[in-house]
Amino acid sequence: MRNFVAANAAIGSFIIGVLFIVAGIGAIWTPYDPLGISFRDKLVPPSPGHWLGTDEFGRDVVSRLMAGAATSVWISVTTVVIAVTIGILIGVTSGYSRGWFDRIVMSLNDALLAFPGILLALGLLAVLGANKYGIIVALGIAYAPSVARVVRGTVLSIREREFIAASRVVGNSEAYTMMRHVLPNCLAPLTVLTTSMFGWVLLAESSLSFLGLGVPPPAPTWGNMLASARPYIGQAVWLAVLPGLCISITLLGINLLGDALRDRLDPRMRDRT
């Protein structure tokens, strides 16, 4: 099992590492122009010229997958950063202050949780303009409540630990205690959450794109590639299979990595017993 865990961690890190490298390359260089159309090369099956074939506009699928990786990774990372930042702010203040402030913030939070992301995304997209920034803000706001919940829970449990009392006895102010002792100790569970959330956001972006609410074409993301491949599923199977495969493999990597992180971080979380 030890080997299994280690192997999983290695596979997970490898997949995510490759993803980031591909995304990094895809952001600056791709074999073909991911937006460059070519009438003659429509729906070319995988071949030496186009390793993974071309799509309905004759655009090279490898290039689009790479550029899509760049967009997807960029969106996911930025979204997670936004969600985590907002979530931490809300979670820590509400968890640490408790009382009526906590109650109000948390009922707002619950309302947001009960709100389907798709509607929120559409609304914000329309207000912010249909581009990837809209998606980022919308998903960021949609996922911040989950972070806030976890952070608040962690804060509540950390508050009860004796080193917080110790800090107060020393004469430290509440704000200092929060910044210096509470916040750093929230980070371990947050790391695990952040990893999983990276996967959720990737999936959410793909789902939204699939429903036609995501990053608008022609800019490629895996989700909208998959969505626009649907009509060609009979003629050009690779178009539908490849982006889905990319999403699945990435999610697998994230899940494996998340598990490994949880295994690594949990014993320390439990060291109070």
């Binding site: 159309i37 506009f57 649907r230 009979g234």
Partner: protein, 514 residues
Amino acid sequence: MFRRVALLALGMLVVTSPTFGQTLRVALNQDIRSSEPGVNRDGNTDVVMTNVVEGLVSYDKGGAVGPLLAASYQISPDGKAYTFKLRKSVRFHNGNPLTAADVVWNFDRYMNPKTSWYCLNDFNGTNGTKVVSYSAPDADTFVLQIDKPDALFLDSMARTDCGGLAIIDKASLKPDGSWDKPIGTGPFIFGVWKHGQSVQFDAYKDYVSPPGKERDGFIGKKAPLVDHVVFMAIPDGATVKAGLESGEIDVAVVPESDVKELRANKNLAVEVGTTPVRNAFILQTRDPVLRDVRVRQALAISLDYKQIVDAVTEGLGRVNNSPVFDTSGFFGDVEKKGFEYNPDKARELLKEAGYKGQQITVHANKRSTVPSFPMTVLAQQMWQAVGLNVNIEVLDWPTQLSKYGTGGYMMQSTSYSPRFDVASGFEQISGDKDKQPRKVWDNPDALTMIDKAMETLDPVVRQPIFDKLHTMLLNDVPIILTHNRVACMAHSAKVEGVEPTSFSYGMWGVTKKD
């Protein structure tokens, strides 16, 4: 014992499949909006409902108006009085005979604002012609007065979006006056409607066909040749294709891109035809950049239309830069001449206009029924090739439409709904932008000419006007029309009689072999 089992099995069959006989399954990309013609509608609903209801007049396949429930009609010399003679022995689906009194009752209903008839403003004087009075002098005669001569009045009566002024039986309403379901005179009876899923029509065995030897648009020979037609709402194109291949769908409108693949399947056939739907890029002539006609001209002549149309229609469509649809009688040599593809000249024009790479944003949408998105993607590359900095913004359709309605765009890739009358087709895009921001062409000369064309139906008067308008439009470039929609009807090889036009969902005259 064995017989009892067999009987039982038969009994189960009866329970599980309530419909007997020939059933034609037709895919719709969206459920019909309502069963109330001309009130709660969209393009699909209009045509689907022509299976059930009929008006006094309607279109033939060339877009000319002809009698449907009327046997004939006469227009008074002053052009203000219309007299319709009704066809004899026409009965509603519930067996009631059609009389002129029914027509009066229907007009009462449509002209009542409470009905919220879609075309009320085109008949009550708000947007032009006003119906002054109507009456039924005898059971077969209906007389109607309008306030001024209007060459297009019959066309308005035939308009499918107005419900074709469908004549329905009083029993279509519930006792409280609210809508129940349409009891019309069409070849099919409105059957079970499962909202969001499917609507079933059953053959009207006692249907009396209008005169004619063969099918002719919405008129001509009409007869229900299958027992049932089920229109199934399937929004997803891939699913539709799968359904055609598996035999679960008999008839469907398919995108051009599927034609080749489907034709390769020997169980399927595809009919192709063109419709008066016009696909276009529209340009905001009041935009700081596009105000300069040279920039607009450059945009127009930097496109290789043949390549774009071939690409988006898979070689099935024809380039048409004119608002006159290419199957119209008015589509002549002048109209055939469109924009001249000349990238070098486009670059020159841009230079003259002092264009310095200002960004031009084109709104497009990804609705599967229109080529808005692929057209824009293809055009973008050609525009970029001559140095136009064009950016695509994909919007959802309601958003694009609301920007269209307020004129809040630089360019949009859009499609115009069919107008069988060519003058109406011009009127659709032209008008005073101050009053109606959605209008794209506000050249005052053009507006005067369009008004003149609407006063008559005489081709000798009209043709030169349309020719002139077409030429002016090519010069002004408020709109870049590319081609008329290609209708591709895929159907099972067992099915015959499908017509791939605007009338495609009219299922009379269609047969299905076992």
